[in-house]
């Protein structure tokens, strides 16, 4: 089973899973995330359904909440 490192923890991954389906199934509660995927910064405006995760990828999610 392929795995990604999600916020520092090994998390199992389906073969050929996209970043969009992974986030929807594993992290449905994180609103407005900044996504750091192997060092690249993405938001939900990026075409996440076109990015395929692979074994050993590093993924960090940062929740952007309101206030300033």
């Amino acid at each position: 089973m392929p795995k990604v490192i999600l916020n520092g923890k090994e998390t199992e991954l389906a073969e050929g899973e996209t970043l969009q389906s992974f986030l929807r199934s594993r992290k449905p509660g994180v609103k407005n995330p900044i996504i750091e995927w192997n060092g690249k910064i993405l938001t939900e405006k990026d075409p996440l359904e076109t990015f395929t995760l692979k074994d050993g990828d590093t993924l960090n999610l940062f929740s952007m909440v309101g206030g300033g």
């Binding site: 609103k31 407005n32 995330p33 900044i34 750091e36 060092g39 690249k40 910064i41 993405l42 938001t43 939900e44 405006k45 990026d46 960090n60 940062f62 929740s63 952007m64 909440v65 309101g66 206030g67 300033g68």
Partner: protein, 199 residues
């Protein structure tokens, strides 16, 4: 007159030649600018379309006699009372995914200082491939928990400040001390990046 007489000649040269972008002139932006001006930064590009409201005075660098005025004009006036020789390009406009990259193209660092969460992600997304470092904030409402507010680096050029959880809500309002901590940390991160100091 030098506002900050404690800089080395090398530090002064770097700070005076830098141009810093600030997206939003509210609790974060107005206080970030106050800190950067006092530290010796002089050139800024900033945008906000709002006017000063009485409810802003609990945390923003404005005064009671400025309520109703455009934030861009009122803040320029306040900052020039600290340093009259500032070069301020303050725009009364709404930043979008279309105009953000162009407005900040010649900035050395851009500070995300919006109130709304979706505007924060818009700004970060718009500058993600620009090569310009972005210093952003998330999670600063309420009181206490000072030590939960910290700096995280993401990717090569994004710096996130806050606790990432304390969003504003009817139960959790933004207040001067905690917003001020985050604003000071944003300003301190900008200066560390410019001078090559440890974050």
């Amino acid at each position: 007159m030098e506002v900050n007489p404690y800089l080395t000649p090398q530090q002064r040269k770097i700070l005076e030649h830098a141009r810093i972008g600030v997206a939003g002139l509210g609790g974060l932006g107005s206080n970030v600018l106050c800190h950067l001006v006092r530290a010796g930064v002089r050139r800024f590009t900033a945008a906000d379309f709002d006017v000063v409201a009485a409810s802003n005075l609990n945390r923003q660098f404005f005064f009671a006699d400025q309520v109703g005025r455009k934030k861009t004009a009122a803040l320029a006036e306040n900052l020039r009372r600290i340093d009259p020789e500032l070069e301020l390009d303050f725009r009364d406009l709404k930043l979008t995914g279309e105009n953000t990259q162009e407005l900040f193209a010649d900035c050395d660092v851009v500070v995300e200082a919006f109130d709304k969460a979706d505007a924060k992600t818009m700004l970060i997304g718009a500058l993600a491939n620009s090569g310009i470092p972005v210093v952003a904030a998330s999670g600063l409402a309420g009181f206490g928990k000072s030590n939960d507010i910290r700096v995280r680096k993401a990717g090569k050029k994004l710096y996130l400040i806050g606790d990432l959880v304390s969003g504003i809500s009817p139960e959790l309002a933004p207040a001067s001390p905690r917003v001020g901590i985050a604003a000071a940390m944003e300003a301190n991160t900008v200066i560390a990046l410019l001078l090559g100091e440890e974050l």
